[in-house]
Amino acid sequence: MSDASILPETVNASGRVQRQVVLPFLKSVEISLKSIKVRFFRSLITTMSLVLAVSFLSFINVSNDVANGMLATRNPDLRATLIRSGYDLGPEDTSVGSNAKQRWIVILSLLVCVVGIVNAQLMAVTERFREIGTMKCLGALDRFVLRLFILEAGMQGLAGASVGALAGAIFSLTNAWLRFGTEAVASVSLTNLLISIGIATSVGCLLSLLGVFYPALVAARMQPVEAMRVEQ
């Protein structure tokens, strides 16, 4: 901690280099949380697209887990049910993977989601021009601003992705239960289920961070004069 009582005028030019402005990590977390809380509805909408895309990914993965679980029971009835419900199974297949069409649709939905996040975050940056400019006038460095935005997106991403992953898994399991009965749900391997949810959650977080990167960079590089010039 620097000595707060020292008067600025006693510090000479050579002292400047050592005396840097700081923003403690906990404080930035606090500020980001507050920004999310204040703009809760907007954050919710930004997060919503992520929730939907991630729950779709999770749904597809967990559905495959269910099918694999059913095959693993080696119960011919379940195998027949699967084939009847549209799974392409050869006589020797003991597992189902996601097919190309499924992968393609998932990737598309995730892409749309990223574009949505970039759009929403760019709007957020425009809305907060003045706030960012003021912070810069108070001595904030570029990376403080960058960090605030990335933390915010990280928190939104984590919350949205976990909700989405869980929702997708629950929906998929309910679906399996209704279509194939209790035995099918009971046969799902818990490890595979957790892995699927984990993958969906981390993909969601990653997408959220990817989406905020460019808007945050725009915010961080902004000159305070430009920010102040904006009429609001």
Partner: protein, 245 residues
């Protein structure tokens, strides 16, 4: 404190804005020396370049040519970190539009620059409360900006500007968005702080209420310094001010 220390020195500063293909000369060679501890008003009509000059002195913008020295340090030579440090510790900004951060309470707004300066949270809160009491808002520390009136917001901004005991307070039309009485209160507050704490106050303004408290008035016209008047000369010519515009 030395009698004649220059806290700000501006030499031959010009600024050209490029608007499409047209060059606009906002400043056409300004020379200015500002003595420490003074209360300076930069006066001039709209479009005369006073806000541009203000931004140069505050290190918010770089001149096209010429130099700005703060405490005899050329601010064009500073890197991003040093500039941030300068903004944080040396200069306190007050704006026409207050620019209180909307999502934070009054106290959080005042403590933010102290956090940037590396002060611990408790010490910052203590000092923030002292500053809010100083500007007469001790009981409203937990209010958000939209729960405060314009005059109160500006007083929060003044408290925030004082957070790191800056040597200079730059006020860009501080009374521009305030009514007559609250404007006068803010001016009186700035004057008192300048006298008590030896802070140099530089305000860009076209508010004539400012003239009464100014130690020195710099008249800017068409990107040039028209004239610099000290307080003594000013009281004589005060009758003519109305005809100057």
């Amino acid at each position: 404190m030395a009698e004649k220390t220059n806290i700000v020195r501006v030499t031959n500063v010009t600024k050209v804005f490029k608007l499409g293909k047209i060059d606009v000369n906002a400043l056409k060679g300004i020379n200015l020396e500002i003595t420490k501890g003074n209360y300076i008003s930069i006066m001039g009509p709209s479009g005369s370049g006073k806000s541009t000059l203000f931004n140069m002195i505050g290190g918010l913008d770089k001149p096209t040519s010429g130099k700005v020295y703060i405490d005899e340090v050329d601010i064009a030579q500073l890197d991003a970190y040093e500039l941030a440090w300068l903004r944080c510790r040396k200069i306190g900004y007050i704006f026409q539009t207050f620019n209180i951060i909307q999502v934070m309470t009054a106290l959080e707004n005042v403590t933010l620059p102290m956090i940037f300066a590396g002060m611990g949270n408790d010490a910052a809160v203590d000092k923030g409360m002292q500053l809010l009491e100083l500007v007469g808002l001790g009981d409203r520390y937990s209010h958000k900006p939209f729960e405060l009136s314009g005059g109160q917001q500006q007083r929060v901004a003044i408290a925030r500007a004082l957070a790191n005991d800056p040597a200079i307070i730059l006020a860009d039309e501080p009374t521009g968005n305030l009514d007559l009485t609250t404007g006068e209160e803010c001016i009186a507050l700035l004057k008192r702080l300048s006298q008590e704490r030896g802070v140099t106050v530089i305000s860009a303004t076209h508010d004539f209420k400012m003239l009464n408290v100014s130690d020195q008035v710099v008249w800017i016209r068409d990107g040039r310094v028209d004239k610099i008047e000290d307080r003594e000369e000013l009281s004589i010519s005060i009758g003519q001010i109305g005809t100057k515009e």
